[in-house]
């Protein structure tokens, strides 16, 4: 993979000459630097559900060698990084997913896949609300039903702050993300050091396990990196376009280090029952620093939710708003409150996440949620591979400031591997065959497809009728305009 962005050179705009950047030669007053891109990419991926996914992954491989499965997943994440890097460089916009899917397949398929993919955001928000609620309940030694109140309170606060247009500033997000990563690293290392035992099988992932289990571990490992690509929606606000793919690359490296350490230390110091609990990270904290460590990890878990709720709510609600404005969803979903926030998607997302989180709390089925997320992420990586491949054929002349080398091989490999992983991840829960995740994904896809096939045409027809009834406001031109210059010829000319 290679960075082939050419220097855009200086560009005079109006009366002043301004520094060269990607925005047609203009420098934005507020733009995101590489540090914030890295923290956004890492922070979106490092949700509270990471701890549960890491603990769940340990079940599939021998003892301390979980890092190998995560390493393989990291290599696959690099493949996905290449696809997203190229697609983002071609379409550096928040609407990129719509653009590259629309141009590489038909609009109906693109919309169906995108709507299904958006389910991941609901799942991650619900999972984080559940995990943070459960962790706080455990930390305060409250009865388990109190978790439902925490979940309600957390999601209520997230919805209220979103409706008021509150956003976490880039600086605060940087601090929160880097603190979470640093604290998790310290706790992981301390837990390992305090165990006073050497690692048991650090290099033998298959010891007592089958190769199929290892593949399942890799599929779950891919989930540990998932959502790193959501930062591509910030492409319009970065100081330099290369920050996006560089930031994603650094984020993948950081995620590998932290999640490997967490998984290895969890497998080393926690027993099977503790690994299967809804708060293994708190138990890891206690193993490292006693009760203080447990509280530290409770605070860290709550901090991860800051990024998830902030990024998740904004990404999903703005996507729904944009799609409704475009005319592909009912226009009521684009209604704004007095703070210019699309309130219907925000409230809807909160309600949906609450319902999912409560179901998970009641049924203790968080590993199903993790498997659904892993399946959906692997699916979207396969779609990214397909889009990259197809666009190479359909739009060979489109500028690609960043491109994947050997796409003919890597693209097909990515498509096959991620498709297999999507299937594997969605057919197994907690080490046993379980089709529930696949059924959930299939139901989400069926709902999306039904909407696109049967409801969307009616929505579009209603919008067309509304526009026809409004009529054009622009007055007709009195004098023809010179097609060469766009100027109106002077009187008498």
């Amino acid at each position: 993979m290679t960075d082939r962005r050419a220097d855009t050179g200086g560009h005079a705009v109006g009366e002043q000459s301004v520094p060269a950047t990607h925005h047609g030669g203009e420098e934005l007053r507020r733009a995101l630097g590489l540090r914030t891109v890295v923290s956004t990419s890492t922070g979106l991926a490092f949700a509270a559900v990471e701890y549960l996914a890491a603990a769940g992954l340990v079940v599939y491989v021998a003892g301390d060698s979980a890092w190998i499965a995560i390493g393989v997943a990291g290599l696959l994440a690099l493949l996905a990084w290449g696809f997203f890097g190229e697609l983002n460089a071609m379409f550096p916009t928040a609407a990129a997913i719509r653009l590259y899917m629309k141009r590489s397949m038909n609009d109906r398929s693109a919309l169906t896949i995108t709507f299904t993919y958006m389910t991941t955001i609901v799942l991650v928000i619900a999972a984080d609300a559940f995990i943070v609620g459960t962790a706080l309940t455990h930390a305060f030694s409250e009865p388990s039903w109190v978790a439902a109140l925490w979940i309600l309170g957390l999601l209520g606060a997230a919805v209220a702050s979103n409706l008021r247009g509150v956003r976490i500033a880039g600086g605060l997000q940087d601090v929160a993300t880097y603190l979470v990563l640093a604290a998790t690293l310290v706790v992981g290392v301390a837990a390992l050091a305090k165990s006073h035992h050497a690692l048991r099988f650090p290099l033998s992932p298959l010891h007592g396990h089958s190769p199929a289990s290892f593949i399942e571990a890799v599929a779950l490992g891919v989930f540990l990196f998932s959502a790193f690509e959501w930062v591509t929606t910030s492409a319009e606000e970065v100081r330099h376009p290369a920050h996006i793919h560089r930031g994603m690359l650094i984020a993948i490296g950081a995620l590998f280090v932290v999640t490997s350490l967490v998984a290895t230390s969890m497998s080393h110091v926690l027993d099977h029952q503790q690994l299967k609990s809804a708060y293994p990270q708190l138990l890891l904290g206690r193993a490292a620093f006693g009760q203080a460590g447990l509280w530290l990890m409770a605070v860290v878990t709550a901090m991860t939710a800051l990024n998830t709720f902030n990024g998740g709510f904004i990404t999903a609600s703005r996507f729904v708003y944009g799609t409704a404005r475009e005319g592909s969803l009912p226009r009521q979903l684009a209604a704004l409150n007095d703070r210019a926030v699309p309130w219907v998607p925000v409230v809807g997302l909160g309600a949906l996440s609450l319902a999912v989180a409560l179901v998970v709390a009641l049924t203790h089925s968080w590993q199903v949620l993790v498997a659904v997320g892993a399946g959906l992420e692997a699916m979207i990586y396969a779609v990214a591979a397909l889009c990259t491949l197809r666009l190479r054929r359909r739009a060979p002349e489109h500028p690609r400031p960043f491109r994947v080398r050997g796409i003919a091989v890597l693209g097909v490999a990515g498509l096959v591997i991620f498709s297999v992983l999507a299937l594997v991840a969605s057919l197994s829960v907690d080490g046993s065959f379980n089709p529930a995740p696949l059924i959930i994904i299939a139901v989400c896809a069926a709902i999306s497809a039904s909407y696109v096939l049967f409801v969307l045409p009616k929505v579009q027809a209603a919008e067309a009728r509304r526009r026809a009834a409004t009529g054009r406001r622009r007055p007709p031109r009195a004098v023809p305009v010179d097609p060469g210059t766009g100027d109106v010829p002077p009187a008498g000319a």
Partner: protein, 119 residues
Amino acid sequence: MASAEEIADAYADWRARSNGNERLRKMVRGWNRIVHLHTTDTDESFTLSVLDQELSALTRGGVGQPDLIVTGSSEDFCDMFWGDLNPSEKYMSGEIKLAGSGEDVMRLDAISMVAFLDQ
């Protein structure tokens, strides 16, 4: 292609509509921004700003450091300011390009939507 004068006329209508909309004035409270518009076909730049809940007059050329840059064809700008074109549609199809924070993009789109649809 639309001339600069046509864009200015269209913008004047949009501005009057927006500044006269109480709900819109509420929406842009505390949102003071400089927006540069750039036409791809006629290679012209314009500047508008939002200050103290009011849209400024349109200035030719890129003035000041922008918070938001909108790039599109002169016809699209003209149609957008007259309310005949849904900018989101053009944005989603890649014909209108934006640079700036997601929040600023939302506000600008909100102005065009509320001014014409009052949604």
